[in-house]
């Protein structure tokens, strides 16, 4: 009863859970336009994930597995379903998640048949794969109800059904390491435990065996996604879009959301997107307006591009941005290859490359 009164008062006063606020991009997250200066290696139809064995760059583009080596692009193979996650394994192996519901492990990228197939009934939206220190696979599953590409619905339904699985190729077993996460999207081994992105709770958590997830980094102004290891210790964390007060407000209005989801084309929902500005029908944010034909870079974004360099403890060191007036939005994957950082900007469907040299000196404050 007291909780109900408190909830009502909070909604009325705009406090507590009903506070419609978004953290600012400051400190290590201070905006810049570095991602706009990245070289576009390739434009794909539907890039989803990246992996590298050190010399080849593998790109999941819809159902196709593409290899980029020495400037040459070749299609390695194609699957019957879209690839939703990718991970290279020791000894030239490759793991792919298909349609979010199956994970296949291949001895090499062009092997005819998978050496191991994981098709657990619990799998629904496997969106990232990573290699654990004990050579098992870590898989994050964003939602138990919404498909991989239907993440906007998962957000608007306020689902908290994300899970983390450990897949052991040796024993062919699947173990659930965590559940009840706000859209688990990306993981990386962190000693014996693993760092996991919780997109809808805007945070990183440390998931260890037999313990509740421990918050490592919270109150991010973005929806965090995949993680990868960085040279010299630490991680790269991608964020597929930024939070805005408008979306936060809509998330607190159940009646509005229900009607919007029932009656409006999903492309025009008031929800974060991976790209924007393509149609006049898109909902505009208050400040997302053109002045003299130019979108103000600091306007609240519908889509955004961001990758954050974290230290070994998971704390931000610096970040690379594509602001609202940029193009390279919807960064869903970032990995280091040679001396470059390779990224997927899913909004425009681009594979981007940024030299790592000098990045830290330029942006670390």
């Amino acid at each position: 009863m007291i909780a109900a009164v408190r909830d009502f008062a909070n909604r009325f006063l705009g406090r507590g859970d009903a506070t419609i606020t978004v953290p600012s991009f400051d400190g290590a997250l201070k905006p810049n336009q570095k991602l706009e200066s990245a070289e576009a290696l390739l434009t794909c139809e539907s890039p989803q994930d990246l992996a590298t064995d050190g010399s080849n760059l593998f790109i999941a583009d819809g159902p196709r597995l593409i290899c980029l080596a020495g400037g040459t692009v070749s299609e390695v193979r194609s699957f019957e379903r879209p690839i939703s996650a990718l991970c290279t394994l020791p000894g030239n192996g490759l793991a792919v998640a298909l349609g979010g519901r199956e994970v296949h492990v291949y001895a090499n990228p062009s092997a005819e048949q998978p050496s191991v197939k994981f098709a657990d009934a619990a799998f629904n939206a496997i969106n990232a794969l990573a290699l654990a220190d004990d050579n098992t696979l870590i898989a994050t599953d964003g939602s138990a109800t919404s498909a991989v590409d239907d993440w906007a619905r998962d957000l608007l339904e306020l689902n908290r059904t994300g899970r983390v699985f450990k897949l052991d190729s040796g024993s062919k077993s699947v173990t659930r390491s965590a559940q009840g996460l706000g859209h688990a999207f990306g993981a990386c081994a962190h000693g014996n435990a693993m760092l996991v992105s919780e997109s809808w709770r805007h945070r990183l958590v440390l998931v260890g065996a037999g313990a509740s997830p421990k918050v490592v980094l919270a109150h991010l102004p973005v929806y965090p996604s995949r993680l990868s290891k960085a040279s010299g210790g630490g991680y790269w964390l991608t964020a597929f879009t930024a939070r805005t007060q408008l979306v936060e407000f809509v998330l607190r209005e159940p009646g509005y959301r229900r009607r919007m989801m029932a009656e409006i084309d999903p492309a025009y929902w008031v929800a974060p997107r991976l790209s924007s500005g393509r149609s006049f029908k898109e909902p505009m944010q208050g400040a997302h307006i053109k002045t003299m034909g130019v979108i103000k870079p600091w306007a609240p974004p519908r889509s955004y591009g961001l990758v954050i360099r974290l230290d070994a403890e998971g704390q931000p060191l610096y970040s690379l941005h594509s602001r609202v007036d940029g193009i390279n939005h919807g960064i869903v994957a970032a990995i280091e290859m040679d001396n470059d950082l390779v990224l997927i900007a899913k909004g425009p469907g681009r594979i981007l490359k940024l030299p790592l040299a000098g990045l830290a000196e330029e942006f670390r404050t």
């Binding site: 606020t21 953290p23 600012s24 400051d26």
Partner: protein
């Protein structure tokens, strides 16, 4: 008749021995629009207040139409044909426009109808679209300003001084105001206007005078200026020659996020303000007067309250907090060192030790029934030594101290609480040079010890010398962030103005 309507020679005004303006020469030509620009504390307001009879000169002379004058009151200045339109207008809100216009000029018997007709005719002659029967409280900012201007013209003002006239105007109202000023110029009225918006000065003025640190820097025709030249003149100190030393070559890395302010609102001063403060760093907050810096951090410290509805969120160590009074903020580890020490900082007739001990008392949950004299003396002595407070004796009263030592007492009162987050609001305002260096050393030491330190200052060299990161505030919110390594005075000032 001379071309000069008003002039000041070697104008000096001292406040408690500190010059607000220092040997300033100023000439105002007949029928010219003259912009006065400068940083906060440059002496613009003091200079115009001298002209308007609000303050009197300590040294130097003032001449109007060639005759030496020394107006001691605004009335005397008005009789000389000088009127000042203040930022906060001086109209009586419950009276009508016409009554305000004729206030102070009433006859023995007044007919309201007569006043309204006269006001109507007069306002029409100025082409002002204001209804004389309207009550002032119901007018918008621009119309109020029109009434102020009309009153000045009605009083046959030959010189009208505007202090930040456009601060409260909408863009449309600004345009109308500029037309009004140009019209006044055509009538032969000389205009002085203070503005932080350099665009306005460049657009409207015939000549521009730049003041810095109470001294005249340059006066020239507007054609000789551009934005860069004005900003350079406003801030162009040689940093290497100041007591703050050379600019930083390294910055402290950010530690854990201690304070997060998200979409904080307190109408009308704080507007959707968001910022973060990190441990082990000095976060400098710069902005012009009215930028909402002090108000934001007073809300953080529980001195002020945010808006009741949808007032935003404050997180301390990632936990939401809402302080209605300062005491719980103090207990949570937030110390706010006020900018107005004489009013909010200490009990001036109490001893130094007692003042410092009071800071410690506020940290104790539930307070204390009994005070320990011995503990008071011990705590007082420790902090007097630690901060090198120079007092005549241990029992000396705070009122007997110099400004710098008073400030040290205020700081000691906060540091005795062992806070995690320390907010210094104008820490060296009215402080002697020696104490400035000591206070800066102390602030740096706190950051080196891993405390989260915020320094709010209107003085750019101080911000540049102390801060690891610099937040620039404008119109109630943080609009720009600079690392100390990338910041320049010009960049900071540009962000603060636009």
């Amino acid at each position: 008749m001379s071309d000069i309507a008003l002039s000041l020679r070697k104008a000096t005004k001292l406040y408690a021995g500190v010059p607000a303006i220092d040997g300033v020469d100023f000439d105002l030509r007949r029928g010219e629009i003259h912009a006065l620009v400068g940083e906060n504390g440059a002496g613009k307001s003091t200079l115009t207040k001298v002209m308007a009879g609000v303050v009197t000169l300590t040294g130097g002379t003032m001449t109007v139409d060639g005759a030496e004058v020394a107006p001691k009151t605004p009335l005397e200045a008005r009789n000389l044909g000088i009127a000042m339109v203040f930022q906060e207008n001086s109209l009586v809100p419950t009276m009508t426009v016409a009554q305000n216009l004729f206030l102070g000029q009433e006859k023995f018997y007044n007919r309201l109808r007569g006043i309204y007709i006269a006001a109507q005719q007069f306002l029409q002659s100025l082409n002002f679209d204001v209804t004389p029967t309207a009550t002032v409280s119901g007018l918008g900012a621009a119309k109020k300003q029109m009434v102020e201007i009309a009153r000045a013209v009605l009083h046959r003002a030959k010189v009208i001084i505007f202090d930040e006239p456009t601060a409260s105007l909408t863009p449309e109202e600004k345009k109308y105001f500029f037309d009004l000023v140009r019209d006044l110029k055509k009538r032969g009225v000389s205009i002085v206007f203070i503005s932080h918006a350099l665009e306005e000065a460049l657009l409207l003025a015939d000549r521009i005078t730049v003041l810095r640190d109470g001294k005249h820097v340059v006066t020239d025709d507007v054609a000789k200026f551009d934005r860069a030249a004005i900003v350079q003149a406003m801030v162009g100190r040689d940093l290497s020659n100041t007591l703050y030393g050379a600019r930083k070559s390294t910055v402290r890395p950010a530690g854990a996020r201690v304070l997060t302010v998200q979409n904080l609102k307190m109408a009308p001063m704080v507007k959707n303000n968001s910022l973060s403060v990190f441990a082990g760093q000095i976060t400098g907050v710069f902005g012009l007067v009215g930028a909402g810096r002090t108000e934001t951090f007073k809300i953080v410290a529980g001195v002020l309250k945010r808006d009741f509805f949808h007032g935003g969120e404050i997180l301390l160590h990632d936990q939401p907090v809402r302080y209605r009074v300062p005491a719980p903020a103090v207990k949570a580890g937030i110390a706010y060192v006020t900018e107005d020490r004489k009013v909010e900082g200490f009990f001036e007739t109490s001893s130094i030790a007692r003042n410092i001990y009071l800071g410690l008392l506020s940290k104790f949950p539930g307070g204390r029934m009994m005070l320990s004299r011995r503990e008071t003396d011990t705590v007082g002595k420790t902090w007097i030594e630690r901060l090198k407070v120079r007092a005549i004796g241990d029992d000396g009263k705070v009122v007997e101290l110099s400004g710098g030592n008073q400030q040290k007492v205020v700081i000691a009162k906060s540091l005795v609480q062992e806070p995690d987050l320390i907010i210094f609001d104008e820490p060296t305002r009215g402080v002697d040079v020696g104490a400035i260096v000591e206070i800066h050393e102390l602030i740096n030491r706190l950051a080196d010890e891993g405390k989260a330190v915020v320094v709010i200052s209107s003085y750019l060299p101080e911000i540049m010398a102390l801060s690891d990161r610099i937040l620039v505030s404008r119109q109630g919110k943080v609009v720009e962030e600079f690392s100390a390594l990338e910041a320049t005075e010009e960049k900071i000032m540009y962000a603060a103005i636009h």
